[in-house]
């Protein structure tokens, strides 16, 4: 009797489990299908396209007719413009540590007992939620050589004409970095502030009893315990940093990537190759390299994570 009941329940359970499985799969079907159609398939297609000199004509057959093996990769390796845009992209990444240090300093300030923290936090965060196109337009105006806000201030203070912020091959990179730090600072402040508020006060009190100096406390409590946040900011900003495009297209005059292509990034180059000169094969090669770079960065970060990220326990 007992064993029969047990058996029956088991059957019921597995029937229920099967039912749950069916419904569960159905509920996640939409994102899973979306992933297959709009992500996985395009990635495979991009890899395939990168092995051709396709210009978009005559469909799939047209693409396979233009199969060229690894020619694009060899060509890309010798392509000066590719290296130039890659170097520019990497130069822009200098904004990441600058933004992180500034963000940490601001967050530490806001973590003190000072008035109006919420208002301050909001003011630093407004650029983050603003449209990238709008603020790029705004900063192109601020950087304007003759009438921009920045040079007007410089002229009022010193009587001299300020530099050509967006019209000089070296300076345009500095201008872009300043802009990017301004745009993203709010995010690192909020993340660091949340991290700081998560550190138990008792740690600092114990350190104070031991007679630790402010710097020692910062070095051996604050920094290590913030390392998960630092890690998160680093990964997300690095991935984002390799995708800079909009600000280059909007801020350079007539969207040409700046004088001598000095402001152009790797995605900007990819965009131009694909949608202005329709070299879909070659552009896909750049896309594949970009994907590999981002994959490697993520991999290094996650391997390194265990090494330098400390947790509360």
């Amino acid at each position: 009797m007992d064993s029969r009941k047990g058996k029956k329940q088991k059957i019921n359970l597995s029937a229920m489990a099967k039912r749950e499985e069916r419904w569960g799969l159905l509920f996640v079907a939409a994102p899973a299908l979306g992933f297959l159609i709009f992500m996985l398939y395009p990635i495979i297609f991009a890899i395939l396209t990168s092995l051709t000199t396709w210009n978009g004509a005559k469909g799939f057959q047209g693409m396979m007719d233009r199969f060229c093996g690894f020619d694009n990769y060899v060509k890309l390796f010798a392509d000066k413009k590719f290296w130039q845009t890659l170097v520019t992209t990497i130069i822009y990444l200098l904004g990441i540590p600058i933004g992180m240090i500034l963000g940490l300093l601001c967050a530490m300030g806001m973590n003190r007992k000072i008035p109006g923290v919420r208002v301050l936090r909001t003011m630093y965060y407004v650029p983050v939620i603003s449209s990238l196109v709008s603020v790029s337009i705004l900063w192109a105006w601020v950087y304007n050589y003759d009438y921009g806000l920045l040079n007007t201030i410089i002229k009022t203070l010193t009587g001299l004409h300020g530099p050509n912020w967006l019209g000089d091959e070296a300076l345009i990179k500095v201008s872009m970095i300043i802009f990017m730090v301004w745009k993203g600072l709010g995010t690192s402040i909020i993340l660091y502030l949340a991290g700081l508020q998560n550190i138990p006060r008792s740690y600092y009190e114990a350190a104070m009893v031991d007679g630790a100096s402010g710097w020692q406390k910062f070095k051996s409590i604050t920094l290590p315990l913030l390392s998960p946040v630092t890690f998160y900011i680093l990964v997300t900003t690095l991935i984002g940093g390799f995708q800079v495009f909009v600000e280059v297209q909007v801020m350079t005059p007539s969207g040409n990537g700046g004088i001598g292509y000095s402001a152009a990034t790797i995605v900007f180059y990819l965009y131009q190759k694909a949608f202005e000169s329709y070299q879909l094969g070659y552009a896909s090669t750049i896309a594949v390299i970009l994907a590999i770079i981002i994959f490697i960065i993520t991999l290094i970060n996650f391997v390194g994570q265990n090494k330098w990220v400390k947790t509360m326990d």
Partner: protein, 289 residues
């Protein structure tokens, strides 16, 4: 707990600490002014005469005030159609995509099925994949579908769900006890009803925050619309203001450009001010989790 903390620290706060706080406050306030001053200047420029902003002198307050630029922007046919096109993308994406994302989050958090972990990890990995990598194949695919130069490429893919929303909601659901799920099962409540009548009401707040963030992301999106939309009549708002910038900066009509940018930024800024506490919270959580 909080009171306790405050008492403790106020006990320790020394005179030196207090002066330090004043200095820190002044520095942070100065920094904040630097952060928002460009926006202030943007609004002011939109009210200035051309003579004023091209004078090369530092005069930030409009003299005289010119109010006409905003109606001039609105009168440009492109601008209104840009807003309408953006709204046409927003509504179906937020409704359908919001539904599919919440449903999937519920399944990932509260249901058991084979391959759950693998599917979830697969989806999560896609957050890493830059749009730039897949935009060419997507362009080819949508051309084949006959979707290019319509709003469909901006509407259909996100309707399948937004991975970061799924991720965030799943995280949020783990705080709801599994007992509820078990009770629903015992009562013979179907899975969809369990989601719709028990769990969805419990995650409404989190869904709202995520939809707000998503609304902003769609509103501000630029790269995908520039690729998929060719004719001006189909442009979304961001593409329109970018074209304004290209076109009117040649005529030095910066007041018009700034007025357009101000209007384009207003909805996201207004939303942010209304929901800043929850928005900031959800951003902060992503870093700690």
């Amino acid at each position: 707990m909080k009171n306790n903390k405050d008492q403790l620290s106020s006990g320790i706060t020394s005179k030196k600490e207090k002066t330090m706080n004043i200095i820190v406050f002044i520095l942070l306030a100065l920094g904040a002014v630097v952060m928002v001053f460009p926006f202030f200047y943007m609004v002011m420029t939109s009210f200035m005469t051309k003579n004023q902003y091209l004078s090369g002198q530092l005069r930030v307050i409009p003299d005289p005030w010119v109010w006409g630029k905003y109606s001039e922007v609105m009168a440009k046919g492109n601008f209104i159609s840009g807003i309408l096109n953006t709204v046409k993308v927003e509504i179906p994406v937020l409704l359908i995509g919001g539904f599919t994302s919440s449903l999937a989050a519920f399944a990932f958090a509260k249901m058991e099925f084979r391959g759950k972990g693998a599917i979830f990890m697969g989806l999560l990995a896609t957050i890493m994949i830059p749009f730039a990598v897949i935009m060419i194949p997507q362009y080819v695919m949508f051309t084949k579908f006959g979707w290019t130069d319509t709003l469909l490429p901006l509407i259909i893919p996100p309707c399948f769900g937004n991975i970061s929303m799924v991720f965030f909601l799943r995280q949020n659901l783990t705080s709801i006890p599994n007992d509820l799920m078990d009770a629903a099962k015992l009562d013979g409540c179907g899975y969809f009803r369990t989601f719709a009548q028990i769990f969805f009401p419990l995650m409404k707040g989190a869904v709202g925050t995520q939809l707000t963030l998503w609304f902003m992301a769609i509103w501000n999106d630029y790269l995908a619309p520039t690729i998929f939309l060719r004719s001006e009549a189909n442009w979304t708002l961001q593409v329109v203001i970018r074209s304004f910038n290209t076109y009117y900066s040649i005529q030095s009509d910066y007041a018009l450009i700034m007025a357009a940018s101000v209007i384009a930024m207003l909805p996201t800024i207004a939303l942010f001010f209304c929901f800043q506490r929850v928005i900031i919270e959800s951003v902060a959580i992503s870093g700690i989790k």
